[in-house]
């Protein structure tokens, strides 16, 4: 198919663009196969808008006389309005946008046509391979192995070709377990807690059905993760009621008789259309410019968005608590094991594992726990808050996850290497992107689409120093501890950076961010200067000493080291006590 067939009017002059919170601009509108381009003729400012058709959630048109107006609502929640003179042109353009933004075939999507304008330093497709993850793991434990049983996706179509499972389980047993689990999603390793050797696994629901079927291999696999005499927790992300109902459809949950070493906890996390409805209501409330104070809060409440955030975070905290505090291993599943399960396992890792709070660690987490774990991005992110289609499979599962990460980031603003912009960027690319990373629903589909050869990975672009600079949190100080967020309603807030992004004035907040950066950068600059001078001095003094054969008088332990070009890292290992002491000293003066 040629895109040209869909574009009857490729260009409209004298169009007027009304963007969010900026004055209307007159200019020229162009349609290409993948972009809607608007450029104003003004030299300065050079207003130019490049909008991916894939980013368009819905198109509305209306006419006043011969002046047509197209309202474009985007998946990133932005709303823009285009006034186009001429009824025919306007109709043509509207129908082209509609057609181009709802292409059926994935291979017609922009990532298959995109040619990067930057030099690829590191191929993002190869940045986070399961083998590398396993290497990290095998340096601390030898109880696990890589299994290639799924190399042709025959055991589980939504799992990656290689997975990590207990060493004592052979591939034959694995196939039996897969038959016993919904969609073949047998329990696999999700996270290994180095501190105490406890693990988190994830799977789908067991197919116990109404007559309480069991599978010895499944029991063996799960028990293989327990230390002798220890017990574990199964966190079921459905309410007990829902889990019981699932039995009628062949699903179910682990029964105590067959899993005596495990205790089951039900934590209800909503799914599918309930989440989609919630998003739609929330965005409606945020865009409503007419309401008074009362109605804003009640609409926020009625959307239930923050309730979902609270539920997901609570379940993740519980999983983390079991592992870190109770010293127990955990198995997480819901029904399919592709949505709420992944929210819980990935958030628990952010709480537990400092590595997941770094940029590369977080990317690895997204790859491992979302992409390779088979979260169906293509289905879930097909439409966003303005969609009219309301398909059952559309749901902002990944956006909820990012929102939860933002909530933790807000509570621990110095513990993350990345900033809010990084999370917003991931939200945008999950819904519409020039990169192939979020295409397809699982590794199986991705390999059939040959994404690694035909498209560029998002990580190839993000991980270049030019881009990374935008996503770095200037306040970051590596924090090796477990971070326990508060899930009280007072502690959870609306993620304004996403939901009010186009409605709230951000100038003053941006200025504050800039100020933060200035303060930190100036400090670093001075530190570098001081260190350079110190080194220079130390060298001179050493020369001096060798000449004179004299030792320097030492003020105290710290300063004697500091004078010799002590690095910042070693300073940080000193107990904080001495700093307080120093503070008191200064006050006495």
């Amino acid at each position: 198919m040629e895109f040209a067939e869909l574009i009857k009017t490729p260009r409209a002059d004298n169009a007027v663009l009304h963007g969010p919170r900026c004055p209307a601009v007159r200019g020229t509108l162009c349609l290409t196969g993948h972009h809607l381009i608007f450029s104003s003729r003004r030299k300065e400012g050079g207003e130019e808008l490049w909008l991916l058709h894939a980013n368009i959630d819905c198109v509305e048109k209306r006419f006043v006389g011969s002046l047509g107006t197209i309202v474009i609502k985007c998946k990133d929640l932005r709303i823009i309005q285009l006034d186009i003179p001429g009824m025919e042109e306007c109709l043509n353009i509207a129908s082209s946008i509609e057609a181009l933004s709802t292409l059926d075939s994935i291979t017609l999507m922009y990532p298959f046509f995109y040619r990067p304008m930057f030099e690829v330093v590191e191929d993002g497709w190869r940045s986070y391979l399961p083998e590398q993850e396993f290497e990290l793991l095998s340096s601390v434990t030898d109880e696990w192995r890589l299994s290639c049983a799924n190399k042709d996706f025959s055991v589980c179509p939504t799992y990656p070709p290689v997975v990590i499972i207990p060493k004592c389980i052979d591939d034959e047993a694995l196939r039996k377990v897969a038959v016993f689990r919904y969609g073949g999603r047998f329990p696999v390793l999700s996270y290994y807690h180095k501190k105490n050797g406890m693990v988190m696994m994830r799977s789908s629901q067991p197919l116990t059905g109404t007559n309480g079927r069991r599978c010895k291999e499944d029991e063996k696999l799960i028990n293989a993760t327990l230390r002798p005499g220890k017990r574990g927790y199964i966190i079921d992300t459905r309410s007990l009621n829902v889990a019981q109902q699932a039995r009628a459809k062949g699903g179910g949950f682990e029964q105590e008789v067959y899993y005596p070493q495990w205790r089951r906890i039900h934590k209800c996390i909503e799914r599918f259309n309930i989440l989609q409805e919630s998003l739609i209501k929330l965005v409606e409330a945020c865009n409503d410019q007419s309401h008074n104070m009362d109605r804003w809060l009640s609409k926020l409440e009625a959307s239930n968005w923050l309730t979902h955030i609270k539920e997901i975070l609570t379940a993740a905290c519980l999983a983390a608590q079991c592992i870190d505090r109770e010293g127990a291993s955990v198995l997480v599943h819901g029904s399919d094991g592709t949505d709420s399960t992944l929210q819980v396992t990935s958030l628990a890792q952010i709480i537990l594992d400092p590595r997941c709070r770094t940029i590369r660690g977080f990317e690895a987490l997204v790859v491992r726990e979302w992409l390779q774990a088979g979260h169906p991005f293509q289905l879930r992110c097909a439409q966003s808050a303005y969609s009219n289609t309301k398909q059952k499979w559309e749901a902002p599962v990944f956006l909820l996850f990012l929102d939860c990460v933002w909530q933790i980031l807000r509570q621990f603003p110095c513990s993350f290497e990345f900033n809010e912009q990084f999370l917003i960027m991931l939200f945008e690319h999950a819904y519409a992107s020039q990169f192939g990373t979020f295409l397809g629903n699982n590794e199986n589909e991705r390999s059939k689409l040959k994404l690694t050869q035909k498209t560029m990975s998002l990580w190839s672009w993000v991980n270049r120093s030019e881009e990374l600079a935008r996503f770095k949190n200037p306040l970051f100080e590596a924090n090796s501890l477990v971070i326990w967020p508060s899930v009280a309603p007072q502690s959870l807030q609306l993620w304004e950076g996403v939901f009010l992004r186009w409605n709230r004035p951000s100038k003053f907040l941006d200025e504050a961010q800039e100020e933060v950066l200035n303060i930190i950068n100036y400090n670093r600059e001075l530190q570098a200067k001081v260190n350079a001078l110190r080194r220079q001095l130390a060298e001179l003094e050493t020369d001096d000493r060798m000449q004179e054969n004299l030792t320097l008088p030492v003020m105290n332990g710290v300063s004697s080291q500091a004078g010799n070009g002590l690095t910042q890292t070693s300073l940080k290992q000193l107990p904080s006590r001495s700093w307080q002491w120093e503070g008191e000293e200064r006050r006495k003066k």
Partner: protein
Amino acid sequence: MEHIRMPKVENVRLLDRVSSRKAALGTLYLTATHVIFVENASETRKETWVLHSQISSIEKQATTATGCPLLIRCKNFQVIQLIIPQERDCHDVYISLIRLARPVKYEELYCFSFNPKLDKEEREQGWKFVDLNEEYNRMGIPNDYWQISDVNRDYGVCDSYPTEVYVPKSATAHIIVGSSKFRSRRRFPALSYYCKDNNASICRSSQPLSGFSARCLEDEQMLQAIRKANPGSDFLYVVDTRPKLNAMANRAAGKGYENEDNYSNIKFQFIGIENIHVMRNSLQKMLEVCELKSPSMSDFLWGLENSGWLKHIKAIMDAGIFIAKAVAEEGVSVLVHCSDGWDRTAQVCSVASLLLDPYYRTMKGFMVLIEKDWISFGHKFNHRYGNLDGDPKEISPVIDQFIECVWQLMEQFPCAFEFNERFLIHIQHHIYSCQFGNFLCNSQKERRELKIQERTYSLWAHLWKNRADYLNPLYRSNHSQTQRTLYPQMTPCNFLYKFWSGMYNRFEKGLHPRQSVTDYLMAVKEETQQLEEELEVLGERLANLQKMQLNGNKIQSKQQDRGKQLGLSASTNSLANTPQEYGSDLKSFPSRSPSQGDEDSALILTQDNLKSSDPDLSANSDQESGVEDLSCRSPSGGGCLPSEDSGKDSDEAVCLAV
């Protein structure tokens, strides 16, 4: 002391508000000024201090098998739940506290016994720190249009006004006195803020006694004089900050509002801010929401909405924005009043001043603003904040609302204010603490009669001394947000107004962000300053050394202590972390080893920082968060300095009681 029936009770349990099964065992002391709870746990000996004047209510609940519960709610939003083993002891404590929390004479208040060990001169200097004449001079007054009037020198015209009042030059004593007779409680129109760029001003008064038809020539002349003091404008806004219905109802009582027909060239405007009773109830409802045990998101949002609190905050802000715009954009003077002109009028005038003039967004300027619009103009601190036992219907969180408006503005304009959130919280705390004399009584007249300045200390000097704790690291005097007028969004940006958990859940540390960006940045800035100094020293040394090496001389090395950098490391591994309660009762799981169980229950989630009556939030590290509280290493070392109502002073108090 004669009111203390029971100076000490042992084996009292202090309940944790978030988790009821976690309680600390300790001893309760009643002193002349404080309630003190000292935990038994030997390694911490954590202390909770509560000033009697902070107590807003005491509730004795039904005795249970474990003891007799006592609930103490404080005006700084702390809630303390105690369980006292013996009913009789509980009753004695209850009766004692009822009396101690409701002093009948000013002399019983803490400020008359509080001694920060300053000499007389320092005390006097402290009181001179904020000088309103200086402030009016700063505004450019007196000038051709405005002058100081001594018409109220013996409080002869209006006993709730200050002796020195600024009025238009053309307003003679006759006009002022005449106008005062036509205004509630004789609170005639007087200058609150003057904008020297365009001569527009904000004046304030009480409502006119207009009834249905009365008029007063002098009052009309007074308004005329105010309008003419701004030659650039041909009219004057008169803003009645009450809802129209309330104002109309007042007419039946011979009060009311200005009739546009009687006053030449005025534009009359209602801006509906509710009265003190509505506000009191609204706060009450919001605090009930804050007190809910593990509320759902819906409980919380519904409760917040039903309280109407944020709607009221927005109403005050909108009124302030309206006035600021009138003055800055239109260049029109505004006369503001409500009923008596000491509550809503004070709120609105001070919000408008804050928006208009960057000076009020500095630390000193903010103190001046409170001194000007609240203290000097007779805001009834004693009645509103219940310092002495009085009519509970007079109590209302009027200045709390103003303080919250400032916080809301800080959220929207993060670089605009020289001070930080802690500054606001500490001011709120001290309005109720009665530790300093500034907020005593209902008027200047009463304060002078009590000789407050000779017998107590000033809060402003105290705050100024500790100003390093209160700085906003993002503030820069040459930043665009610190210039000129701030223009916040008015309708429909309701989502800009947020619940202030830092204030209303102030003592539930577990609810707040675990790392403070403010404290972190302050530490960085302090380090930067030291680096600058060091850079200079090193540069000199290097130059010297090079010179001396040429001369073959040896110089003594003087090292700079670089331990400071430690202040930036975010955490240490020795810290204990505790998860929140995430809903599922893991306790019932049989196989847990006892050692784990103990550890888990020993670490209490909202183990509040020690001495929770201490307004210094910065004390101690945050045990449960997984991150050490950075502020304990904040530049001025909030954690090292005992605050005045704990620290050394407190030791005396304990001795008294024991």
